[in-house]
Amino acid sequence: MEDKEILSIADTIKAVENEVGKAIIGQKDVIRQVLIAVFTGGNVLLEGSPGLGKTQLVKTLSKVMDLSFSRIQFTPDLMPADVVGTNIIMKDEKGSSKFEFQKGPVFAHMVLADEINRATPKTQSALLEAMQEHTVTVGNSTYQLEEPFMVLATQNPLENEGTYPLPEAQLDRFLFKLMVPYPNLEELKGIIGVTVNNQTSVLQTIIDRNRILEIREILKKVPMSKLVEEYALRVVLATHADYEKAPELSRKYIRYGASPRAAQAIISTARVRAVMEGRYNVSFEDIKYVAPSALRHRFFMNFDAVADGITPEGIIEEILTGQLDTAKV
């Protein structure tokens, strides 16, 4: 690998980011984090009110990155087969019948699982294998999903009635959980301009799937100091109430701490973020940047936290500050 190639990665990612920004007004941080997830190779759970451009974001991304895209609207009556596909009887030219696998919408590079919490757990779990193993098993056959594959699921935090909260095991398979904020005035004006006033913009393809896979491999090797790595691991450990250096908030309000997948997520996404920032090493800032998105859905708080109005973000902030203090030399 040549230095020139590494140098071009930051430019490429920057170009993708700019291109997506043409269609998605505001949400810079969400776009950036989704891109981090794309180049890390992980799934993203987007949480936000309806109409914030979640679907548009995924569509735009697939277009800019020349990836296939499918959208699944999760409803209570959605069946697993509707997601992964099913075997159907087909007649060939000779007139004999045989089962043939009809691929479901999951067979795409980018899958938008819209309002994932409205489907039954059975249907939700149909996505589990695809999200983690990037394979789909129907009957006795297992089908490999084409890389890059990622699921971008959305859920609406407002309408909880008739929803099925995602089980912990499934939540853990999302690399990031991103909170999509409501746009400010300027951003809202921009959105109106693009959508209502028909100020269309032509999106260009910046990158293809092969290049994405190449970049992923290169970014895995971004150097990380032991100090920074230890900091990331301490942050994850501090989400456990029984960790000796856990802050008071963790001890008091956390029921279950984050799994080792959280550490993997933080370290791998921090590497991508470092390069996006134009650096060739991971810094504490990178850890601080990715940790909230990587952790907020991975630890579970008790009833006291709900009663006291404690948010996961508050605890994470406390952890990030506290653990950095102890990391000082």
Partner: protein
């Protein structure tokens, strides 16, 4: 170091930054040390107004110097390592570039060259001189100024306990010195092989009790009293009779051919040798002729007459009686008994020596005597007419000297430590024991002075040989006159003036110690006796 190479450049910057950090830490620690020293000074100053503290400034000087030294030494505890400096520089906006570069130094990474290039380019943008300031912390500096002013203010406060502190310090020093003396005496007692275990224990118990008393004493006077009390107790235990008897016995026996070897052994004062000679005597007595036995009996009888100790006397008389009876067993038993009595006398002699040694060890020093406005030692030697320098000593020396044979032994025992040994300056006076002492105006070492002799009734009823006059109570009786050899018919004796005054002085001081006399009166009495030497 090649500054053109990335790692050379990084190391150079790290070294420079490290030196700056060390300077900064030194400055910080020294300022903090100064703060602590000033705070300690203020606390000491305030405390010295509440409790007596001797030489508070000297104490603060030591404490301050110690704190300052510690603050300097503590810099070594904070010496930053290379990685720590890298970490610090990274925190100035380099975002862990240096620390990651250092970790990659011995590793092979595809990113290494790019990272180093990036790090070196960023190094120039970091102004670590501005971040690592060589100025003391503002808060610390403000604290130094405030504490300096506060310290200055406390110095101006009146010091009502200054004199009390000085006295307490002197008392402690004195007690310490006296304690050393007691411990020295204890060691001497423990080392003394001539003492029995019981004697040793008795002496050690007394010395231990003295230590406790010294510990409890509230002033030097009380400490001296404790010393004096013990000295008196020890003196009471000295029994010179047995010691003198032993000498007399040796002299008397030396006149007899049979007992010549035994006399020599007694003079040698060696217990084993004496025991051996007593065994030899048993054998000799068996083969003695009648004339030799009579001669030996006479010697025993004369020796018995010359002794004061009843046990020794009885033993000698018993041996004489046994020789008369001719019973060999009785003779042997009597010899053994005599041996036992001699051993007792020897043991007492050892005890006497130990007691004298302990007394000598426990002499209060001249410094203390001077502190009490008295000059203890100087001129004492002259007072005894010895002028040997050895015969210095305190009042006890004088008292003992005069009472037990001036200049012969006690005077010497008490001497040695006084500054004015034998070269008195005429300031002699009352010793801290409260015993009188007479000083010579200008004695010189080795010089003897003859004092005018004055009559003293001290020998009235003195020791003489007891004579028994027999007679019958009737009207026709005749008178008999018996002339005794040793009777002292005189009613007194002529003694040197200084000894007489010394004894009077001693009695007066004892009386003062044993009764409550106003402090002012004591001085008058002491001055009076001091003036008598003129």
């Amino acid at each position: 170091m090649n500054l053109n190479k990335p790692y050379g450049k990084i190391s150079y910057v790290l070294r420079k930054a490290r030196n700056r950090i060390i300077l900064s830490i030194t400055l910080r620690n020294v300022t903090a040390g100064l703060c602590t020293a000033l705070a300690a000074g203020i606390i000491l100053e305030l405390l010295s107004r509440l409790i007596p503290i001797y030489r508070v400034y000297v104490l603060w000087g030591y404490a301050g110097a110690g704190i300052f030294l510690l603050s300097l030494l503590s810099v070594f505890l904070f010496l930053p390592k290379k990685k720590a400096v890298a970490r610090l520089l990274d925190s100035f906006g380099l975002q862990e570039r240096i620390i990651t570069s250092l970790e990659l130094e011995k590793e092979d990474s595809e990113y290494k060259e790019l990272l180093l290039e990036d790090t070196v380019s960023k190094l120039d943008t970091v102004n670590y001189r501005e971040k690592i300031k060589l100025l003391p912390d503002k808060k610390l500096l403000a604290a130094v100024i405030f504490l300096t002013l506060a310290f200055g203010a406390t110095v101006l406060l009146p010091q009502p306990l200054l004199e009390e502190a000085r006295q307490a310090h002197e008392l402690n020093a004195y007690k310490k010195e006296q304690k050393k003396k007691v411990e020295k005496a204890e060691k001497e007692v423990e080392k003394n092989t001539g003492l029995t275990q019981v004697q040793k224990k008795d002496l050690l118990d007394k010395l231990e009790a003295l230590k406790q008393e010294l510990k409890k004493s509230q002033d030097t006077r009380a400490a001296d009293k404790a010393l004096e009390k013990l000295a008196k107790k020890l003196e009471q235990k000295i029994d010179k009779t047995k010691e003198a008897d032993l000498k007399n016995l040796a002299e008397k026996l030396a006149g007899n051919k049979t007992a010549q070897a035994l006399a020599d052994a007694l003079k040698s004062e060696k217990k084993e040798e004496i025991g051996k000679e007593f065994e030899n005597l048993k054998n000799k007595l068996k083969s003695m002729s009648a004339a030799e036995k009579n001669d030996f009996k006479d010697t025993l009888s004369k020796a018995a007459d010359s002794l004061g100790d009843s046990e020794l006397k009885d033993s000698l008389n018993g041996l004489g009686g046994a020789l008369n009876s001719g019973d060999e067993n009785a003779v042997n038993k009597s010899v053994d008994k005599l041996n036992g009595a001699v051993n007792d006398s020897l043991s007492q002699k050892n005890m006497n020596n130990a007691l004298a040694q302990a007394q000598n060890d426990l002499q209060p020093n001249a410094v203390n005597a001077q502190n009490q406005g008295q000059n203890s030692g100087q001129g004492q030697g002259a007072a005894q007419g010895q002028g040997q320098g050895k015969a210095q000593g305190q009042g006890s020396g004088t008292g003992q000297g005069s009472g037990q044979g001036q200049g012969a032994g006690q005077g010497k025992g008490a001497g040695g430590s006084s500054a004015g040994s034998g070269t008195g300056n005429g300031d002699g006076g009352v010793t801290p024991y409260g015993q009188g002492g007479i000083a010579n105006k200008a004695p010189s070492a080795g010089q003897e002075k003859e004092y005018e002799k004055v009559f003293t009734p001290s020998r009235l009823g003195g020791q003489g040989e007891t004579s028994v006059i027999t007679g019958k109570g009737n009207n026709n009786g005749k008178s008999e006159t018996t002339i005794t050899n040793n009777a002292d018919a005189s009613l007194g004796e002529l003694m040197p003036y200084n000894q007489v005054v010394g004894q009077y002085s001693e009695r007066a001081m004892e009386s003062m110690d044993n009764s409550s006399i106003p402090g002012g009166m004591e001085d008058i009495i002491k001055n009076y006796f001091a003036s008598l030497q003129d």
